[in-house]
Amino acid sequence: MIEVHNLYKTYTTYTRGSSFKETLRSLFKRETVLVPAVKGLTFKVEPGEIVGFLGPNGAGKSTTLKMLTGVLHPTSGDVRILGCTPWKQRKRYVRNIGAVFGQKSQLLWDIPPLDAFYMNKAIYAIEDAAFEETLHRLSRLLEVEEIMRKPTRQLSLGERMKCEFIMAMLHRPSVVFLDEPTIGLDVIAKEKIRSFIQEMNEQGVTFILTTHDLEDIEQLARRVIVINDGEIVFDDSIMALRNFLGAKKKVRIVTEQPSDWYGIEGVTVLKLHSAKDAELELDTDCLPLKRFIQLMNERCTLQDMTIDALPIEQVIKELYGHKERIEKVSIVRGSSKSHHLITK
């Protein structure tokens, strides 16, 4: 449904120089500087997927999203979405997509969102019956039936965001692009938005979202694409993302007697809270979990044990640190699809 091939975007900016002479000269002549923002992106998205784009600031996520929505013309490369090239057949293309771009609101400040909904109805040429049905369904789902009749300026950020979502989906698009959809929202609003996205996804809507919120990724995206410095450094399922650092687990273990954890293959001591209380890192590639538990039972009497996957922040930081594409030989646990880490 979405095919991206060798997508490039290079921006042109101007330098002004910092020395006195240069600054003066800049009055008459400016030097151009080429800034490559996206360098050869290639990926595919099937209908019904939720794909999350992660990446540090300036990585090229927003630029990519703009090109996918037809807002930006690439320097080179191909994109086919719903049978269209977004920037070439924009008017035809945007009829079938929805987009929520962070703080760029489509609502009108002084009048109720409902009026803006009717405006979009006219813009997208939605039939009366279909419009009423969709509006009713969406507003009930997001619980905005009352508030959508109040002027936009009286609504909280969370309420406005919900209305933005409705704006984006009134015309029943098959693909929806979200740029930082939960930014600035409180916990409850975020949950509501996420469950809404999931519900819509179950009904067949494909979602592409960019975010900094790792919880968004964990709760929503089954597939994650990490972009760094304009290139894809990771494209796989969320499980694979977790396992990126080599199928490691964090184990907190409390024993009845003091125990010694050093010298066990596959176990690294992270922190010793006391002689009976330790935080360990278990590399299950080396020492499978079953074996580890057996070993524990043999060595000591367990009082308490918690096993966690490594926090995803650590994974991300590691990936953000990668400037080159990662080499990974085929072992990717838990990945059912054939997307694997890009090889050099």
Binding site: Y11, K104, I111, Y118, M119
Partner: protein
């Protein structure tokens, strides 16, 4: 028809939006007559020593200003300000993301805005001029007057919109835009009838788009047209106005095409 429904929906939403700011518009009922009052005194003083000035009698001069004042309420807009704001903040992107041409959208907005202006500004001020100042405000040829006002409405929009479009290129040169606006105001005949300008300048003004915005509608309304020594019959000048509107529409479309290409969704 689809476009009609679109225009109606947008115009209606805009109308409601501005109705929330009724007091803004209502102030015009004070401001317009105040400006006119000053003109009233000025021209009464000036005409103390003569009967005709540049082809206008006192009564005609006052009619000119009165008509100019009320017609402005029907034709003016700030499409340039709105558009450059959208471009600068990056909110313009929300229009690229939808199957809508922003030109059409903005024009529909103007319809809604000016419809409210018709009730809140035009009618009250018109009545004040007619009954309190006793100005001759009834057009001798109403059909042509209305047509010319509609064309003036469109011309003003396309000129202002084009000025706003420069924001695609002049990202922070608010100043340059203001040059255009100033030129526009001087040459629209708002401050003084264009026939007061030196002949050479009048000749130049004849070929600029600005006279088609307000000066011609006012002249058509009054019933006689003259500029740079050129006189035309009312139907002729309205025909010329229509051609000018078409040309400006073309310029606008070209700039939109070029500008959209340049637009990169600032800060999105």
């Amino acid at each position: 028809m689809q476009s009609l429904r679109f225009v109606r929906a947008v115009a209606f939403a805009t109308y409601k939006e501005w109705a929330a700011y009724r007091s803004h518009m209502a102030v015009s009922i004070f401001i317009g007559p105040v400006y006119f009052l000053v003109q009233y005194f000025i021209w009464h003083a000036v005409y103390a020593s003569q009967d005709i000035l540049n082809g206008f009698t006192l009564s005609e001069m006052l009619t000119y200003y009165g008509v100019m004042s009320v017609i402005t309420y029907l034709t003016f807009d700030f499409a340039d300000w709105n558009l450059q704001m959208l471009i600068r903040t990056g909110k313009y992107v929300t229009f690229i993301l939808r199957p809508v041409s922003h030109v059409g959208f903005a024009l529909a907005q103007k319809v809604g805005h000016r419809t409210l202006g018709f009730w809140m500004e035009f009618i009250p001020v018109f009545l004040i001029y007619l009954f309190i100042f006793k100005i001759k405000l009834l057009p001798p040829q109403p059909f042509w007057a209305v047509l010319s006002i509609i064309l003036g409405f469109l011309m003003t929009f396309f000129v202002n919109y084009s000025i706003g479009l420069t924001a695609f290129w002049l990202t922070n040169a608010e100043g340059v835009r203001r040059v255009f606006l100033l030129m526009r105001d001087i040459t629209a005949g708002v401050f003084v009838p264009l026939s007061f300008f030196p002949d050479g300048l009048q000749h130049v003004l004849f070929y600029l788009p600005f006279q088609f915005m307000q000066y011609i509608p006012v002249r058509v309304y009054i019933g006689s047209y003259e500029l740079a020594g050129i006189t035309m019959s009312i139907p002729q000048v309205v025909g010329l106005q229509a051609i000018a509107v078409l040309c400006m529409w073309g310029v606008c479309q070209l700039l939109v095409h070029l500008g959209t290409r340049k637009f990169t969704g600032v800060g999105v």
